[in-house]
Symmetry: C2
Subunit: 182 residues, 2 copies
């Protein structure tokens, strides 16, 4: 909507990292005043709602340094430069869980923190999983524990704050609304 | 889970902004090797699933500078220092939508981008809305358009990528799974 637009007056680069870049934009507001916007640039990510034949959802437990604790999430990972989200989703599913699927279904895409970051996450569902014969390698600085749980167990983990992640909270409600799991 | 833990060797402060701080932590990985983690610190936020008496969900359209476009989201806002999430949720509902509620129900909390940020968002539902007699002021650099839509309209907006936001995608599935809207 044009009337809400904020025009960039000046961009100050702050940080160029391995994963994120940070900049501060001076903007002209709709009323002509100026303000500053702190912006994190991120390559984007994918996440996979993976349901096993016996109606469990595949989760990974992972230490998240920004939180100083490990939490349980659906499998996910960052896009490599130029990588198709669907290709990335299949790769991350295989690397993180040891499962593969010959049919990933696109569900939706959403921004995780639109107030300060441009990270977008593309959500796929995989409902015809088979085991990889040979386990693939994770990134060398990545350590995850795979687990499978029922919808009831997932909701219990949410109550216990072990599941406390936007994409995973979405996945649980999506699976419930679709009636995919008992 | 202790065996997944990453110990901090050294923290390098990068940026102290009005909303976010950025730091790079050098960490010891579970296998004894070292790596770097780029971390964004955020004060946390709330969002409100507000349902009107005639079964519409209240949304706000807002320009999001990191995305260089406006998107439609459920009402939300950052926590002020020391502010209770429930208090913040009531305040943001009133400021952004002109509605109030004497009973906000806590739904869940989740991290939006646990890979690089500590932002947590607390989700509340307000299902007994009444109109404020006097409209409250928004923050001086905040411009939003309020709208109300049915569940069907919200899902259509999602298909058109006008709704493309994690907390709002969660809200739509939550409302569907609960059967709160037709």
């Amino acid at each position: 909507m044009k009337r809400l637009e904020e025009k960039t007056i000046h961009t100050t680069p702050i940080f160029q990292g391995k994963i994120i870049n940070v900049q501060v934009d001076e903007v002209e507001l709709p009323d002509g005043k100026t303000s500053k916007r702190e912006i994190v640039k991120h390559p984007g990510a994918v996440a996979i709602i993976a349901i096993t034949k016996d109606q469990n959802i595949v989760m990974v437990e992972q230490f998240r340094k920004p939180l100083e604790k490990s939490i349980i999430e659906i499998p996910a990972g960052k896009l490599e430069p130029g990588e198709e989200p669907m290709t990335c989703a299949k790769r991350e599913l295989e690397e993180e869980t040891g499962y593969t699927s010959d049919h990933l279904e696109f569900i939706t895409s959403f921004y995780t923190s639109p107030g300060f970051a441009d990270e977008i996450i593309h959500i796929y569902a995989a409902r015809n999983l088979s085991r990889l014969e040979v386990q693939k390698d994770l990134d060398e600085d990545e350590f995850v524990e795979v687990m499978e749980c029922s919808l009831e167990e997932a909701e219990q983990l949410e109550k216990e704050h072990k599941i406390q992640d936007a994409k995973t909270a979405f996945a649980i409600q999506y699976v419930k609304a679709q009636g995919w799991m008992k």
